[in-house]
Subunit: 223 residues, 2 copies
Amino acid sequence: MSSFEKTFKKTPQNSVARIPKRGVYDKQEVYDILDAALICTVSFVVDGQPFAIPTIHARHDDKLLLHGSSKSRLMMHAAEGHDLCVSVTHLDGLVLARSSFHHSMNYRSAVVFGKGQLVEAESEKNDALAMFTDKLVPGRWDDARKPTSQELKATLVVSIPIDSASAKVRTGGPVDDDEDYALDVWAGVVPIQQTFLPAEADDKLSDGIAIPEYLREYIDNNS
Amino acid sequence: MSSFEKTFKKTPQNSVARIPKRGVYDKQEVYDILDAALICTVSFVVDGQPFAIPTIHARHDDKLLLHGSSKSRLMMHAAEGHDLCVSVTHLDGLVLARSSFHHSMNYRSAVVFGKGQLVEAESEKNDALAMFTDKLVPGRWDDARKPTSQELKATLVVSIPIDSASAKVRTGGPVDDDEDYALDVWAGVVPIQQTFLPAEADDKLSDGIAIPEYLREYIDNNS
């Protein structure tokens, strides 16, 4: 797809079939959901059998980046250009209705379809690793020791041009059948969030090294 | 596999290839990771293309249960007995090493392989829905209005006998190369947890219905 398009074209592949009103095809909304996730699940097919492996992802414009050891089966498979389906899910709440039938969850999920391409140029691999490191903790790349040329060789980076994608989002409270509102059952939402706890310094940390400001801020913003 | 076995047999399908020491084949450990997850991702193959959809799961002995609308493509596909791969991931921490290369995450992930079987008997479907409801919030089933026979008809329940499964777990602090411990870079772990926030009552909740004790306790235990 062209990077000038603002929405993903609805096709049988990416269409949200169940409860279509929860489907999201706006590119920026889909990307926001992808970017907010620290990990994704990569699904792929070997000999007709589905496999799924969790890993970290980063996005660069209309490309999703994966990385891993040059010995990783997932990365080798991804680098070979097979079809991939990358999904992320944020669980935002338990939705408790009066009837068991209408119980649900609030969530933001996104799914991306595409084929991987091996990133070979050392400078591009280095740029990708900067993105992964700064995705883990914004500002980390400038602080940590940069990869050596040997480390870059031991790392596979795969770029997946996003052919197609969509998201599915549920928000808000329970929706019960009219006659159930009279029931004497508590109903509502239990919001869920992913929370960072205070940082734990490595046992082997040399004396006098304080938690850097970018990290303290990142933890504060996610606590 | 026999339910008397205490470990999953290692096969090419379920073996943890990268960093084998992180592989877990003990049945109870794998099941604990599955059970602790509120949602899973179901991966499946249609016309050679991988798809992945998040949904809620429950486990009954050596079977994983899924449910959904009788109109759901995922559920219809699962009911047809195709190969499925169900995965869950708990993100437990950001692992910050001195070198960019050794950055990592702490996590517990599990993956299950099997084929779905449609659950047809109304009583069995009802039992499965009790499991899903009590998995969302333990104790909820007895409180909420039970499904009607019509609601049971509108719901597909699929049981997946677990053919094979494994888990992968990383815990602990960063592991740097010997020469990097002298670097002036903060290293350690930022623990992550999934946290429940205070319950939000439905706008349409009738006056005088307090949050039930089982829910208050569940929220307290996850706050």
